[in-house]
């Protein structure tokens, strides 16, 4: 019987593997003809990255050499593109007029890299990363040195950048998103990856939109970003994605969507034509990795060698990044989803982050950074759909520990641990030392064990184990103590520890804190994120960039949300003093925007209630025009400074209380604090400004100024405690700013001054502000941070900052892009 004619279009990973699989099953059935557009035998495309980095040669990545083709293939046409398929005549037509008939046809044309249509995209030195020729172009460019810019922070872009650095260039990756490899990684892993890349000389610029490629004498010279920045470069790599190569299929009349549409037997809309690899679209998915391709090839080989029932049912994906020394693994629903739970493990010391996603009692995905030995195990559990109820407690620690403890009571597992086994990795303390210290020195608390052995005294991740050892050694005599109140359920760390370590370790972003302090959730919660944002803002004035998404709505919108979703607007009236011009402007605004309610507040100013969010910038613009700025009635920051009329008018007034209040408010407005701060200044002990129930209150007397702190009149009612008395107005201002700074630096988020005072004690505060040097230093730090805080947030938004916050999305009623 004559052999059937099988033609393969595409001499890449999929095309050749399909031929191998078919030959393995039935070596004599087909006479195979292969067309390949590249002028070479087939090679392992994924190893182009190590070739670029100089870690491998082309010869080392060839999959099938010339001898293999001689043995197995009737005809190989390299460097020759197929132009058309005549489906009716069952014949392919290649460039140059060659026509080859087929009985069965396999399309394996792969993908084309996407080229962004930027101005300058056709300049010399603008390359993509897909085949050996691209690698050749990059290596040649790298010989001249200089800087490379890579557009795209996905797997390919990062591997390209790393390879170019290894070739002696400096490399910058610009990425549109805020997360590198966002289709494989979450924010925490991306944060660690950025650090690891930076150590290897790859700089990353996030949230960067490219605008144009700049050239000089026809060659690329730089990349211009939408924000105006220009990144000079000698070579520019576009690694922004791929699109299935469907040109030939489409032109020949095969059904195509994103890719060539195939069924579970890999069959296209023509029963004699099959498609596999990246050019195929199966159940709506066009894959971009090799693992699914291998499965497709196996199914296709079954189908073509006699089992018409074989079916490919889609693949779950796993990814590893090939940058030497940087271990990243991602698989499945790494980012969770409906009904998913997260198990998170962080080891700051080793730079490890692991997140295993559980859904319906099974592993649904995982993302690992720094230690990926268990990637394969999680992937396996996921693919087998194994019930992990029994493994759950230890799953995140990996296969070895889990299997060792499988089914065992954790207590007995601890009991069974050998004495030499290390418990505390940070300080190298093993089990025997701890149990000996507990028994020998009569230790009964965690603190005592920490003090004597140093176990659990550093990162604290072994604390549960140490507690179990205490319990085991002491029996019921041991009670688990409660340490400082944790910030929230995402962490066991208290506020003080978080604040201390932000400063000590130079942590400058929320993901940095979460990694270093081993947060148990991927991106925190609505309790810890605002707290961390404040701590960072306070620790690094001028340096830290406020994270808007970690602010409650009022602080994000710079207005107070009301029960019906509208907002209130409270402009500052310095010290409660206003003028005819301000009142007239307010009246006009009320008319113009039909503000439903105008109310005088308990804080001596005017509240416009019921303003629609969309109108806020316009209302503020009019207020700004009349000289008024935000009153921060919404802020964990300085609110009001209430005053009385004082010596200017009042027959009892001893000092200029109104003037002092205005000066204080003008100097202190805009400062962010752990909780709101309200001041009051009364001109005499009759205290008409109610200064003795404010966070900080001044009562003027003939001989000077009595400063009290820790008053409250809300949920708790408390009178201030006298802090100190000073003789001059200047000293009063210094002292008040110094106290505020001390509170800013040591208060816990949402802790009002009176609560803080109860915790630290008035003596401590007094000692600090009565020491002239300390007071001076605190005051200076306050003044320095005010340089960055005193920007009217309303004026900024009138000028267009965060315009999206105030503009609802608009519907486009035309049909969606097809």
């Amino acid at each position: 019987m004559p052999k059937e004619r099988l033609v393969v279009v595409g001499n890449g990973m999929a095309g050749c593997r399909a031929v191998e699989e078919i030959i393995k099953r039935d070596p004599d059935r087909y006479a195979v003809t292969i067309f390949g557009a590249e002028p070479r035998v087939n090679y392992d495309r994924i190893m182009l990255s190590p070739v670029l980095a100089g870690e491998k040669t082309f010869e080392q990545i060839v999959i099938n050499d010339a001898a293999w083709y001689d043995r197995n293939v009737a005809a190989l046409h390299t460097g020759r593109k197929v132009a058309r398929i005549d489906l009716a005549a069952k014949r392919v037509e290649a460039e140059g007029g060659l026509k080859v008939p087929y009985d069965k046809l396999i399309l394996a044309t792969g993908s084309d890299p996407i080229r962004l249509p930027l101005p300058g995209a056709d300049l010399e030195g603008v390359v993509t990363f897909r085949d050996l020729d691209d690698v050749g172009a990059m290596v040649a460019a790298a010989e001249k040195g200089g800087r490379a810019v890579v557009i795209g922070g996905g797997l390919l872009g990062l591997e390209a950048a790393y390879g170019l650095v290894r070739r002696g260039m400096d490399a910058t990756v610009v990425h549109l998103m805020d997360i590198l490899m966002e289709r494989q990684l979450d924010e925490s892993a991306s944060y660690l990856l950025r650090g690891a890349l930076a150590e290897r000389g790859v700089e990353t610029v996030m949230g960067a939109q490219s605008e144009a490629i700049l050239g000089e004498d026809g060659s690329v010279a730089g990349l211009k970003l939408k924000d105006g920045r220009v990144l000079p470069c000698a070579i520019l790599v576009m690694a922004v994605g791929i699109k299935p190569a469907v040109e030939v299929a489409k032109a020949s009349g095969l059904a195509c969507q994103r890719g060539v549409v195939v069924d579970d037997q890999m069959r296209t809309s023509d029963p004699s034509v099959f498609a596999i690899g990246e050019c195929a679209e199966h159940r709506g998915i066009a894959y971009g990795l090799v693992a699914p391709i291998w499965e497709m090839c196996r199914t296709l080989a079954e189908v073509l060698t006699g089992d018409p029932e074989a079916a490919y049912e889609g693949s779950t994906l796993q990814t590893r990044l090939k940058v030497s020394g940087v271990d990243v693994f991602s698989a499945g629903k790494f980012a969770g989803g409906p009904g998913c739970e997260d198990l998170v493990f962080r080891d700051a010391g080793r730079g490890v982050y692991k997140r295993v996603v559980i859904e319906a009692g099974k592993v649904a995905g995982a993302v690992l950074f720094g230690d990926i030995v268990d990637g394969g195990w999680y992937y396996d559990l996921m693919r087998r759909g194994e019930d992990i109820a029994e493994l759950r407690d230890t799953l995140v620690f990996g296969q070895q520990i889990t299997e060792a403890l499988r089914g065992a009571d954790p207590r007995s597992a601890v009991a069974a641990m050998p004495d030499q086994q290390e418990v505390c990795g940070c300080n190298g303390v093993c089990k025997g030392e701890i149990t000996a210290a507990i028994a020998g020195q009569g230790l009964a608390t965690l603190e005592a064990v920490r003090a004597v052995t140093k176990a659990s005294a550093s990162c604290g991740s072994c604390t549960p184990l140490v507690e179990q050892l205490l319990q085991l050694t002491l029996g019921d005599g041991f009670q688990v103590q409660t340490g400082p109140k944790p910030v929230c359920a995402c962490t066991g760390k208290g506020h003080d520890e978080v604040r201390r370590r932000i400063l000590a370790e130079g942590l400058k972003s929320i993901p940095a804190v979460m990694q270093a302090l081993e947060w148990a959730t991927p991106d925190g919660c609505s309790a810890c994120r605002p707290a961390l944002n404040y701590y960072l803002l306070c620790a690094w004035p001028g340096d830290y960039r406020d994270d808007k998404q970690s602010r409650f709505i009022n602080e994000r919108a710079h207005a107070n949300i009301q029960k019906d979703g509208t907002f209130s607007v409270v402009p500052r009236m310095w010290g409660g003093v206003t003028s005819a011009a301000e009142l007239r402007a307010i009246a006009d605004i009320v008319d113009k925007f039909a503000v439903p309610t105008v109310k005088v507040t308990g804080g001596q100013r005017i509240d416009l209630l019921g303003v629609r969010k969309e109108d806020l910038p316009a209302v503020w613009s009019d207020l700004n025009a009349a000289g008024m700025v935000s009153g921060h009635a919404y802020a964990k920051g300085l609110r009001t400074v209430k005053t009385c009329v004082g010596s200017d008018w009042c027959r009892f007034g001893t000092q200029d209380s109104t003037g002092l209040g205005v000066r204080l408010e003008k100097f202190m407005w805009g400062s962010w604090t752990p909780a709101k701060v309200k001041l009051g200044v009364s001109g005499c002990p009759r205290n008409c400004a109610e200064a003795t129930c404010k966070d900080i209150g001044v009562v003027c007397v003939e001989s000077g100024y009595e400063i009290g702190i820790g008053g409250a009149a809300g949920l708790n009612v408390r009178a201030t405690e006298l802090l100190t008395k000073v003789a001059t107005e200047q000293e009063a201002i210094w002292t008040i700013c110094a106290v505020t700074q001390l509170y800013r630096e040591t208060g816990w988020y949402l802790e009002r001054i009176h609560k803080w005072l109860g915790r630290v004690g008035i003596e401590t505060v007094r000692a600090r502000v009565e020491d002239p040097e300390d007071r001076r230093a605190l005051y200076d730090r306050f003044a320095y941070s005010q340089r960055f805080a005193q920007i009217d947030p309303w004026a900024e938004r009138v000028a267009g900052r965060h315009a999206e916050e105030f503009t609802p999305l608009t519907r486009r009623l035309e049909k969606a892009p097809a």
Binding site: D523, P808, R812, K815, A818
Partner: protein, 114 residues
Amino acid sequence: MNAPVKDLVSPTWTDVGAVSDIPVRGARRAPTARGAIAIFRTGDGRLFALKDACPHKGGPLSQGIVHGHAVACPLHNWSIDLATGEPLGADRGKGCAAVVPLQVREGRILVGIG
């Protein structure tokens, strides 16, 4: 994620903007004839849509803090599951914010609001 092709081109899907219009760990509000909807984008880049009304007292969820796959309502801090619209934790079982079907197609957000 990958809905049947016919759904993607069917006219019941409405384009409300680009993925990049929604801040990461944030939300935007899209008014429609049948009430506002809230579109959320989580830290890991996923998108969700709910009716913009909290099951508690109708608070605008689009104005809350987005954390994990949940949003904290801006009015009284209930935590709402973005995937199901149901309150989490202590308020579990007390009503539900309607889930709005959402698709992403070539960087555009399509919602199924008819």
